[in-house]
Symmetry: C2
Subunit: 509 residues, 2 copies
């Protein structure tokens, strides 16, 4: 097969991919609007519109002609190391397109429809079941969703573990066995740390629950965004029920937050978290414009960016040594009598709790390990859905040392399963681990970056991320990226070091 | 051809139409976002997205299979009076789809692209030419756009007047000869009224230029919208550079306005105007949901709804006798020393001026007659683009009694030509005429409706519009609708009567 022949196929595939990406940006616009400004009565029509656009995108991605063109482009992606026929950029493009095309062709339309129907019902039942703390109402729906996920995994195919097929959707090329290994090590280290913290003197965070008028929170959030390097010409900040980042185009990355008038953390830390995602999306190299490589390479890497900014930077003493005087000026009533050290300790308060989304950065990964263990057990039919509440309580006791009194505070707390998303949770914890590993490398490459943060100069940190991580988009896999940047694949010891160092200064551990 | 055979074709056409309408609502969402919240840097990508969706919709509409299905549905639409094969609703649907399909197939893709290129360049040059008052810079671009409109008209076909082919895009089935006849009569009546007003004592409106804080204007606008019956569950009010109404779906009708902090009229009257459009769109019968009949039947009828609310209701004494005390409470500084009669006269101040969008309801139609005369002359090659500035001045003098000193205040003032839209202007004046004719019928059918308005009860007026006009959507042509509601086709004498009655109370005429 000649280079020219393969190159022609690549060109046509790039053209087809561009159309798919345009449709996906259109769908993103519809979704963003739905969560921010859409009038309530429009929800049914909006679902139809979204589904129409997603169907068009899916048809284009699963088109047999794409398969034929991929075959013509040939060995380039099937054996990336062994072929020099095509440039690197093309190989990365073909590898990602091959993966997405193959996945899309393996799920028959009928299965997509059954999953869509089950999750549509499932979400509405879940929402009521959580409100009424009634796991038994949700149980048959969750069973159906687990069965459909098993069917999907069988269709998608896997080598070792059925869960691999689902995990790959969110964390491409990552394997269950590796996640299990990483999580096992993480657990062994984290559980004693959490116990030690629980045994030491708790920090006071009562002042975080004083009055913080939302309009002033927004003003302060915009100051932080400005300093972080968020590009307002190519992005927005709005309000929605749950914070999110949406990519409406290479030059249109929007974030949202929600403000609690009586709790400081929810608004500002969500802004910093989402801005971490947004800086990644605003930082893809221009060469990836309009292609599927203008995308985070995995949810784990994406989460590493949000967690890096939210926790490593945003919950650090240097950060607040610059921003805290400005925060005090903004909320003089609430913070007049609070020192920066008190504030720093308060926003880092650790306490085992039942609700994942409210968890601190030390216990957070334990919530994820719990879900990963249940999901893999369900998918591999080691437990049944009826066993979930008991299994949840047992895992919670073992991991966090506490047992939820209700299923609403247990297996009913998250929306993910009701949406059919299994294999997603691990990426949150992987994000924490990648963030710590990147941060360690950053402090080697730019030793004074925290001094700059303390001066309000976040640019050195951003520049390092831009150069080492953001610009690549989806061109490097998570493992390639991690290895290229830090010299080794994912290694959870950096996260443990980070936690130990940081929290030994806050707690007596 | 059997009824069953035809009915099968109708069903398939309805399905295809539904897909087209979903795409058109998606495009509307993209447009609305572009004008309201989109970050500036996203404009190029947004144009690509819009163009992609519009192309998909156009492909579906011009699909030869649609033509074949229309042929199978047969005589039903070609001779609506003569065939009883299909129900009325189907005949109306087929007639509209036939019209749109036929128009879309007659314009070759190459012509669409040339027009798109010419207007893209044209708009950017026009914008600079207006700023720099340089008609000669815009002249070659306008020439190209006129030539392309001529080419389009020739492709579309017409019986009598080339302009018919363009007018039909905005005012289906309306003919140039009829517009000419109506405008000639209108002009004969209006010009002496304007002269008489110009010769009588001018009303004072200086207080409308006091301080009106935008946030308070918005609060007041929302009170008015609430009373008008605007459905907030199925709509929104936002801010944009130019006010507009956008239909994002049967249950998603959004309006915008802009607020001037030092001029009362721009904000509130734009809200009432756009809400008139929106009430029409919110009022289509449920039976038309998702079909091309869930649409205003013509721009003239659409404009009749906005003008009815803005002028007939919103600039009436009964309206302000209810709302003015509330307005005074909102803006005590600006309006403390102003009576409701003074306010009423001020918002109805008449004065010939150069700029159409700032014109009062008496002189407004004369601005339109001017443009209609120039457009028809250009399209029929009676004058050339080089003649436009002189012709404009001559027409302005004859119609309004004033001559613009600059082309920026003359032929460069409107964006329409630069966008390629010729045939659009007449619909604005037709809207004024239809509004007055409908209002006369309303006051016959519901004699006390203005008394109710004076009590803040706008429901009787809305109910009459819902029943007689809104619910039909595009199922009746403008002429059918007008005839069914008022017993006769468009008759400009009602507008003249309305103007004479109203302004004899304000001016000495």
């Amino acid at each position: 097969m000649s280079t020219e022949h393969a190159q022609g196929a690549v060109e046509e595939l790039r053209q087809r991919d561009k159309e798919i990406q345009v449709l996906s940006h259109v769908a993103a616009t519809l979704s963003w609007d739905q969560e921010t400004y859409m009038p309530e009565g429009a929800i049914d029509e909006r679902s139809e519109q979204l589904s129409a656009i997603q169907t068009l995108a899916h048809q284009r991605l699963s088109d047999p002609a794409v398969g034929e063109l991929l075959a013509r482009a040939g060995a380039a992606f099937e054996n990336p190391g062994g072929s020099a026929l095509l440039p690197d950029a093309d190989r990365a493009f073909l590898r990602q397109l091959y993966r997405q095309h193959t996945r899309s062709t393996r799920i028959p339309e009928d299965l997509v429809k059954r999953m869509s129907a089950a999750t549509s019902r499932g979400q509405s039942v879940w929402s009521r079941a959580r409100r009424e703390n009634d796991f038994s109402a949700f149980e048959p729906h969750l069973s159906a969703i687990v069965d459909l996920n098993i069917e999907m995994a069988e269709r998608l195919g896997y080598e070792e573990n059925r869960y691999d097929a689902l995990l790959d959707e969110y964390e491409p090329w990552m394997k269950t066995a590796r996640v299990d290994e990483v999580f096992t090590g993480l657990r062994e280290e984290l559980v004693p740390i959490v116990s030690a913290i629980a045994a030491s003197k708790q920090v006071d965070d009562s002042f975080l629950h004083r009055s913080y008028p939302p309009a002033l929170q927004e003003d302060f959030g915009k100051v932080v965004l400005e300093k972080m390097g968020f590009d307002w010409m190519r992005g927005r900040l709005d309000v929605s029920a749950h914070p999110f980042t949406e990519n409406l185009g290479r030059d249109d990355i929007r974030i949202t937050t929600r403000y609690s008038p009586n709790f400081f953390n929810s608004g500002t830390f969500a802004i910093i978290h989402e801005a971490g995602h947004a800086l990644y999306e605003q930082g893809f190299d221009e060469v990836h414009r309009g292609s599927l490589l203008a995308s985070g390479t995995s949810l784990g890497i994406h989460e590493s960016q949000s967690r890096f900014w939210e926790n490593v930077i945003g919950r650090s003493l240097p950060f607040w040594s610059y921003f805290y005087p400005r925060l005090q000026e903004t909320f003089p009533q609430a913070l007049r009598d609070v020192t920066v050290e008190q504030f720093y300790r308060a926003v880092n308060r650790v306490e085992p709790s039942h609700i994942r989304v409210e968890a601190d950065e030390v216990t957070y990964s334990l919530h994820i390990i719990l879900r990963f263990r249940l999901e893999t057990a369900l998918l591999n039919q080691k437990i049944s859905v009826a066993d979930v509440p008991d299994a949840w309580r047992a895992e919670s006791e073992a991991l966090l040392g506490i047992t939820p009194e209700t299923d609403a505070d247990g297996p009913l707390q998250d929306i993910h399963w009701s949406m059919g998303a299994m294999g997603y949770f691990p990426t949150y914890a992987l994000g924490n681990l990648y963030a710590a590993q990147f941060a360690r490398q950053l402090s080697r490459d730019v030793p004074d970056y925290t001094d700059e943060v303390a001066q309000g100069n976040l640019t050195p940190a951003l520049q390092w991320l831009r150069t080492n991580i953001h610009r690549h988009g989806g061109a490097k896999s998570a493992t390639e990226l991690c290895t290229d940047v830090t010299g080794e694949a994912l290694n959870p010891s950096y996260f443990i070091d980070y936690i130990r160092n940081k929290y030994s200064g806050i707690y007596d551990i």
